[in-house]
């Protein structure tokens, strides 16, 4: 196989240029073997463009047998559109021959015998011979690589489009030192710089001067490198100097060899969210402060009540006790006037004692814990009236308690409400010949109104506003005893239940006290 090829070279070259016989740098046989062993299609071309020599790869690649190629113009292996260009290029090459790769960067194509084209890359090497300059062309089919490159560039393109198009996130690449390498639209929108302005700049300009002084930018990269990624929230600075609260994820990017290539930084402007979170926590904080203040006030009230409860009654006991001792031990030495004075002293201590107790009850209403239940107010009213009757068996009062009056609230406090209202009715009908007390409820616009009605002494509506104030009385104690705390207690309890309380009456014509309860409250768990 070796000899004929060699002969062909010789014959071809000698046919064209008899005076300059090709003489490769190594022996003929070795040169041919080298040619055949090459992985690429090898074509030796004379300076006139004729093919002087080809190897088996050339035949396989282009689909010609070597007989069809030898002695013909090399242009037959190129698509027609390249042929006009090639001779010039060829001549230029022959005038300044050098080793050169063409086709990388250019899109070169080979033409097969069957007319199909395929992408190629060509390496040209000059070959000095006695017959003159030859050119050796190594031709490689780069179809597979082109396809791969095409795919890669498509995928890069779509990735690029994806990143560029993201407007809500600033997405950028940093080199290992933290300088900006890429920039997207979101970054421009959020941070205010155009790509031209920022690429190559260090990313610490996105941080506040305080953060930079504290070494935060460097620390974030360090953390990202150590942990793979670093997520943080903090103030960042726009081009115009304004600040925004950012959620930032920095991820270390490594190449296939494990070499740090840089960092990706994805950031979002969450100033609005931060602001609403801050608003909520400010609200929570102020609610917490209020609760704490209320707690303090409640505790003070409790301490006050406790002290009143213990200390205010002791002197009264002394006054009453020793007044009583005076009468008992020195009664024979005291005249009626003196005894009357002592009686008044003792009555006053009783009254004072009652005031203290009522005051404490009023304080208890404010500070006691509320437990909400469904309460059978009818049953409660009957029990309370029965107690009044028992304590005052001679009274004849017509009591009408409506059946199945139900309320929702604290059972203890609601009992106090009914005790006070029914107690007032009981008290203020004490001088009424046919005393009548009614307890019930009625529906007004979907709301339950509870009422206690009597036909007793009543009151002047002019002073209705004073009724519910503590220690306010519309009757003198000698007519009707009392401390003026009862209705104040009722009002506080009803307010604590989210309800309203009102009174209607006329002097000598009885009174009606009405109240509501906030029925939306659920049971205490």
């Amino acid at each position: 196989m070796t000899e004929p090829v060699n002969l062909e070279i010789v014959s071809n070259l000698s046919a064209e240029r008899p005076a300059r016989v090709a003489r490769p740098p190594v022996g003929e046989g070795k040169f041919r073997a080298l040619l055949e062993a090459a992985p690429d299609a090898m074509i030796i071309v004379a300076c006139d463009g004729n093919i002087a020599l080809v190897n088996a790869q050339t035949e396989r690649l282009f689909g010609y047998s070597r007989h069809e190629l030898l002695g013909n113009q090399v242009q037959m292996l190129m698509p027609a559109r390249f042929r006009g260009v090639h001779p010039d290029h060829g001549e230029a090459y022959f005038s300044a021959p050098k080793i050169e790769v063409i086709g990388s960067g250019l899109d070169l194509y080979g033409l097969r015998k069957d007319g199909t084209e395929f992408p190629i890359e060509i390496s040209l090497s000059p070959l000095e011979t006695d017959d003159g300059l030859l050119v050796s062309a190594a031709i490689r089919d780069v179809t597979a690589r082109k396809i791969a490159e095409e795919k890669m560039s498509q995928s890069e393109e779509s990735f690029r489009l994806l990143v560029d198009g993201v407007k809500d996130y600033s997405i950028l690449m940093l080199d290992p030192q933290g300088c900006v390498m890429s920039w997207n639209e979101g970054a421009q929108r959020i941070k205010g710089y155009t790509a031209d302005e920022i690429i190559g700049e260090h990313y610490d300009r996105f941080y506040t001067p305080e953060a930079v002084a504290a070494g935060e930018p460097a620390r974030e990269l360090e953390m990202a490198q150590r942990n793979g990624r670093n997520e943080s929230e903090g103030w960042r600075v726009r081009k115009d100097g304004s600040r925004f609260w950012a959620d930032v994820v920095v991820t270390a990017v490594y190449d296939a060899k494990g070499q740090l290539r840089g960092f990706s930084e994805v950031a979002r402007d969450i100033t609005d969210r931060k602001k609403s979170q801050d608003d909520v926590s400010t609200l929570n904080e102020s609610a917490r402060k209020h609760a704490a203040q209320l707690e303090v006030v409640n505790r003070e009230l409790e301490a006050f009540s406790y002290s009143v409860s213990h200390d205010l009654r002791a002197p009264l006991r002394s006054i009453d006790g020793f007044s009583s001792a005076l009468v008992e031990d020195y009664g024979d030495k005291l005249d009626d006037q003196a005894k009357s004075h002592l009686k008044r002293i003792r009555a006053a201590t009783q009254r004072m004692s009652q005031l203290i107790d009522d005051l404490l009850k009023l304080a208890f209403v404010t500070r006691s814990e509320m437990h909400t239940w469904t309460v059978d107010l009818s049953a409660l009213a009957n029990v309370i009236i029965a107690e009044f009757q028992k304590a005052d068996p001679l009274r004849q009062v017509e009591c009408v308690v409506h059946e199945d009056v139900i309320g929702r609230g604290d059972p203890l406090l609601l009992r106090s409400v009914l005790e006070n209202l029914l107690g007032n009715a009981w008290k203020f009908t004490s001088k009424t010949p046919h005393a009548k007390i009614e307890f019930g409820s009625e529906n007004q616009n979907g709301e339950t109104i509870y009422f206690v009605r009597d036909n007793g002494a009543g009151f002047d509506m002019t002073y209705a506003g004073k009724l519910f104030g503590p220690f306010q009385r519309l009757h003198v104690t000698t007519d009707f005893p009392g401390t003026g705390v009862g209705l104040a207690t009722v009002k506080r309890i009803i307010l604590r239940h989210g309800g309203r309380v009102s009174a209607e009456g006329a002097v000598g014509n009885g009174a009606t006290f009405s109240f509501t309860l906030d029925s939306n409250k659920g049971d205490t768990p």
């Binding site: 213990h310 002791a314 006991r317 006790g321 201590t349």
Partner: protein, 151 residues
């Protein structure tokens, strides 16, 4: 037989005088020992301090205990009484000004036998003392002394 002692723990001199008067009016003739603060009460009960050497085998038949006391308050005294073998079975009646729910709950929680609020009206007070004396000194059966020294 000598009537056992009543220990009155009371810091208010007026209340002390009135209590004495009420006891006398009810013909309760037991010897009354008065402790004017919590520390004094404990010294007496445990034979310590000013009462060092007192025979702690002899304990009061009844303790009338005020709550608001200087130095050691009534609850603390009650706690110590209930946690000592020598005194843990003694009847203790809290006799005080307040009827604050927290005081009543605490008092019973620490093992008080009764809780009585001192009435302002002296006649009511005399009646309360009469009932206390009748109940604790006459009707009530004490545990046998042996059980006091039981572990």
């Amino acid at each position: 037989m000598k009537k056992p002692v009543i220990l009155l723990v009371e810091d208010n001199a007026d209340d002390e005088a009135l209590t004495m008067r009420a006891l006398k009016k009810n013909n309760i003739t037991n010897e009354i020992t008065v402790a004017r603060d919590g520390a004094e009460a404990l010294d007496y009960l445990f034979g310590q301090g000013a009462n060092a050497g007192r025979d702690t085998g002899m304990q009061p038949a009844l303790i009338l205990l005020d709550l608001k006391l200087p130095k050691v308050d009534g609850f603390e005294v009650l706690k110590k009484i209930r946690s000592d073998q020598r005194t843990k079975l003694l009847p203790v009646v809290i006799l005080t000004s307040s009827k604050e729910q927290q005081d009543i709950t605490n008092g019973y929680g620490l093992g008080a036998n009764s809780y009585v609020r001192k009435p302002v009206d002296f006649q009511d007070f005399v009646e309360a003392v009469r009932q206390l004396g009748l109940y604790w000194l006459v009707l009530n059966e004490e545990p046998v002394p042996d059980s006091r020294s039981a572990p």
